[in-house]
Symmetry: C2
Subunit: 335 residues, 2 copies
């Protein structure tokens, strides 16, 4: 008898989140959530020669910061699970080179944070680790030039565009310790509704988000009202509206407790159009604002689900639409 | 008390490999191992418009073939774990779109096969899955043009170069079933000896391979002689020589039982220079030749360790050396 109902894993061995850390850039300094972030970098180049090298600094600070907040040292970490948006996940690879810990590289595009948490929880559940670090990052200037256009072109952004968050987040998972409990996880399936506009990721990812949530609710025999919050990673304003529409079609109407990290990270004056995006968006907001709210007891039980658009520039050039995925974890307040 | 000694996971819940399938291309048709492969494609474009779309066909055939050999259907598979060499692992993403199974995307470069097997074994060990499919692929024509030069340039290959194998392999893992047992796994750390020649991957990866093997032997208190074979993924001739040199420096001398999939897949007349490379190299040879030899009883206990060079073209252009990783699993003959 496996610990899984339908597609949803039910954890029995108490994998818990014992610490989280978020490191953000200068645009995020002016975020509405800025007081929750652990570290705000004064500029987005961090004294490095390239933005790609700078992105690694954000991730390195987030991981070492989370380890420190957990009262541990790098040597205590059994596994680092990390991925990012850059080709061949070089941010994660080069940070892992410094940290000298057993390293599991993942790629789920912007779903990396919840994918790493779900995988980390499985590893804790297997009883093969005391501590797992789960991390991801994104950087506006690395993502923009890799996925879209050279920054120097100054291309106009369409109204459906989102702004890639320059940030990294890391959570430390442990077994049988005080912390917020990961009680379940629904690993996503790849869903593709045929969206092919690379400036409309929210629309591409919303169907995957609706699919995963629908399965999670059915598997656990719960409804949206059974959770204090349903938190998504970076659907943005349009994607969030589409998610609620799609959920309504599936019979979940009038959902009031959905929040999207991409929608709340920037203020309206910050010209992010549909909001924030990138792995670092959900990762930084989850590991600061939402973990804090759980600790404070404002929320008792939440779903955190990051969503990813699994395209590459090449797949788009070859005429493919944008397949997407969403991984959800269910977290109960601990401590 | 966690089920891990040092850096090596010790599996207690009997994760087993119940089937493997390999699908290879026309160059591999002339391989010395051709009679072991499950399916040989007559050409490397598979009726598609691009090589990238063709690579997905190889992977799709390998996964569905392995599921069929295990006597299962796609619906029986709890999780698909897959990664590949292409930016944003699009081969895996687009195959997962067809298969409609919960999907965990990974990236370990050419170490994907053993990384997916180690992760899959953890998921089985956690008791959250009955069946996990672990897959990867590579394609000469997609890898060459992404990592090196356009094929049309006809660039001369240096003598240290290897030939990316056009192939895909998939293993099906299960719990408490007859099959070859995964009894341990050492997840690699990122090792970088400063090699920066993208045409000498064997030299870049050999230090990571030596590091992982050394830790595996020390953790399990075994020596190379305790295994019938130590199988690496795609170190090639030069990388294999370097691995043995490095192991000798670490005190493991005169190792006779090392085999490298990259070194044995092509014959000397096939102009592959240092041998085969790519995720598909280790994946196809492991899931055919070595699984068959285990089943036949020629080997009772082997180490399978795929190695990955964690560079991107961009990281090389920005002056970085090539960080590498090696993930090892220990397999005992079952059935």
């Amino acid at each position: 008898m496996i610990k899984k109902i339908g597609d949803t894993i039910i954890f029995k061995n108490n994998p818990t989140i014992i610490a989280g850390c978020s490191v953000v850039g200068p645009k995020e300094k002016n975020s509405l959530l800025n007081k929750y972030f652990d570290k705000i970098m004064q500029n987005d180049i961090c004294g490095e020669k390239t933005y790609e090298k700078a992105e690694r600094k954000f991730m390195e600070h987030a991981i070492t910061g989370a380890i420190k907040k957990a009262g541990l040292t790098t040597n205590d970490i059994d596994f680092l699970i990390s991925g990012d948006l850059l080709d061949q996940i070089i941010s994660s690879n080069f940070v892992a080179r410094i940290l000298n810990t057993s390293f599991i590289g993942i790629f789920g595009a912007c779903s990396n944070m919840s994918l790493s948490l779900a995988l980390g929880a499985c590893i804790i559940e297997a009883g093969v680790a005391n501590y797992v670090a789960c991390a991801t990052s994104s950087h506006f200037s690395t993502a923009e030039r890799q996925f879209r256009f050279p920054l120097e072109l100054g291309c106009q952004r369409p109204p459906t565009a989102q702004w890639t968050v320059t940030a990294s987040g890391c959570s430390i998972l442990s077994n049988n310790q005080k912390g917020h409990k990961i009680i379940g996880a629904t690993i996503g399936k790849v869903v593709d509704f045929g969206i092919n506009d690379v400036n409309n990721m929210g629309a591409a990812m919303a169907p995957a988000a609706a699919d995963t949530l629908d399965r999670l609710f059915k598997d656990t025999k719960t409804t949206p009202k059974d959770y204090d919050l349903i938190v998504t990673g970076d659907l943005g304003k349009l994607g969030s509206e589409l998610l609620l529409d799609l959920l309504e079609q599936k019979g979940y109407s009038n959902i009031q407790n959905h929040r999207d990290c991409g929608q709340i990270i920037y203020s309206d004056t910050q010209k992010s159009y549909m909001g924030g995006s990138g792995c670092g968006c959900g990762a930084s907001v989850f590991n600061s604002y939402f973990l804090d709210k759980l600790t404070l007891g404002e929320y008792k039980k939440i779903i955190f689900m990051a969503t990813g658009a699994l395209l590459s520039p090449l797949s788009s050039q070859q005429g493919e639409s944008i397949p997407s995925i969403a991984h959800a974890i269910i977290i109960e307040k601990g401590y």
